[in-house]
């Protein structure tokens, strides 16, 4: 179906995680982290989410490159062949 889900998924997590990490950086040591037992959860978790997002983008990119290298299978057909090299 045209759009690889890992692209929007990866992008969403990179953007959200990035925002949280930057916010965490600026508020590091602030009193707001008393709630989370002194852990700067925005920074820590923002980084974790960004890494996850980047991994998804990387996987989508690698798959697309592999698909581009492989000879196109039946390009005129609207129904994709069953053995497409996509997903898992």
């Amino acid at each position: 179906m045209g759009l690889d889900i890992r692209l929007p998924l990866g992008l969403l997590f990179v953007v959200t995680g990035g925002m949280m990490a930057v916010y965490g950086l600026f508020t590091h040591g602030s009193a707001i982290y008393e709630k989370s037992l002194g852990i700067d959860i925005n920074l820590v978790w923002g980084l974790v989410l960004s890494v996850f997002g980047l991994t998804m983008l990387l996987l989508a990119y690698l798959d697309r490159r592999r698909a581009a290298k492989a000879p196109p299978v039946n390009p005129a057909s609207k129904v994709p062949p069953v053995t497409r090299p996509r997903g898992h």
Binding site: M1, P8, L9, L37
Partner: protein, 627 residues
Amino acid sequence: MHTASALAVGLKTNLTAIDWLIMLVYFAFVLGVGFLLKRHMRTSTDFFLAGRALPAWVCGLAFISANLGAQEVIGMGASGAKYGIATSQFYWIGAIPAMVFVGLFMMPFYYGSKARSVPEYLKLRYDEKTRAWNAGSFAIMTVFSSGISMYAMAKLIQVLHIFDGVFIHFGLPLSWIFHFSIFLSAVIVLGYISLGGLTSAIYNEVLQFFLIVAGFMPLVWIGLKNVGGWHGIQRALGPGYTHSWRGMAHASTNPLGTEWYALVFGLGFVLSFGYWCTDFLVIQSAMAAESHLAARRVPLIASIPKMFFPFLVILPGLIAISVPTVTQHMMAQVQTTPALGVARGAATASMTSDASSVPVGRGLIPVKIDPITGRVLTNDKGKPLLDYDLATPNMLLHFFPTGMLGLGLTALLASFMSGMAGNVTAFNTVWTYDIYQSYIHKNGTDQHYLWMGRMATIGGVALSIGAAYFVTSFNNIMDALQLVFSFVNAPLLATFLLGMFWKRTTGHGAFWGLLSGTCAAALHTGLTLPADVSGVGIHGGWIAVLHVYPSTMAQTFWTAIWAFAVCFVMTVGLSLMTKPREEKDLVGLVYSLTPKPAEGHLLWYQRPASLAILVLAMVVVLNLVFL
């Protein structure tokens, strides 16, 4: 089951710009995915079945997300607080075996028969009337379920005061928040489904799956750290809360109030198989898979994250009652740092003014307050009732600082919406294929049905809004509806099992078996009463009280068992009396007449059966760990 209807007092919410930004980014992505997919929606198959072109892992995550609405997230947290880790039975006994079964044995018929929906399978296997009954009742149920989801979300937004600051800022009356929340969720769901159909719904369910994990993992991490880990919970709550099988020999010695055989047969077999194996809401995502093999893998892949979900959604409930008790007076005090100006107005004042008279809740769980009189609700013995539905939301508010809180709330809102979306896509498919194309307009062009699908999406969302207000205006209507749904669903499993595995079953047998199963469920509920409700009423005993069950859960399990048994016996009996269909018409629809899928070319670990064995072994280990 669990709803936000009785939510009365929540912790105060102080959202800042970063929280709003996170929510906005999510909603921009949700609609963006819809727009990107719009150009791929050329045929009705693209729209209703996602072109049957999605990889198994995508469908698998959607398969569990469709079920993981916020009612589930909040309800499981509530049950965790109420019953302890025994709640995980709803996952380990009440979901995994059924998911394995549907993947191994039933998916070949759903996917292989080329049916486009579950009711359509019934038409192919049995006859028109069985399909009509199933399609009609299913369509009504999806509309009400999505309406209930909408209502619960609007209620939660109100109780957590999420939009209060914004409304005060723009000088709007706070009483509009409920209507605004309903309208907003309707517009967003309508937007992305009418643009991208089932693909859009499935993609958004995948986003939501990861958001829930991302939003709840830190909650469990920080929560566990706060209470001293699993051992801290064991110390605080005792063994009754931290063992899933203890005391299951008798109904009176375990928190669920039911014996092990009612649990295994009622929940683990009838209810769970009935839901996971026959409900088009979840099956639709497996039917969108790219191949026969992928479709069989979908529920198996889904069952792996599913078995670990108790740690994400039930554990917060246990943590919520393990932390030192916060009084409601303090709960309001905890959050006094001003963020959105004068956001906390009347509600805080009314909560704190009589704080001295408010009884203490347990942990983070407040007592239940009557929304009209403002009094604390008590049981027959005068003990205050606890508002368990607030366990998970209060955990978010208690442990998350601004920023992370935005992500947690986004996850919660996302799960409400994808719960709604799953219902809407199931509705538009069943409406268009099983009702409109079958009985109203038979020979339309494909483009016409694609158009109808978009119209049905608008209609489904409009009806959901109607259902949400219907639920709002009638007290207890939600309980009544869910009871009726359970009567209709309870016998379904017998019909599908007999249809798929006994070629002698006939359409007449199936139809009348289903009806008598539904009647049996209603009759059983009308003749019995659970001990934990206050007298004869909607929960049972409205005909006569012949038997009293120790808990509502026990009554539910036994209702399901009776409905299944009656449907099974009636279907078999009537089938033997009526003329069977010719065997050549049943190829691809019945197990014994369908060639087994060729798996010879697959390596052992690629076969669905190997995956199934792995999944079952993992569940056994989990049960042993928490025995």
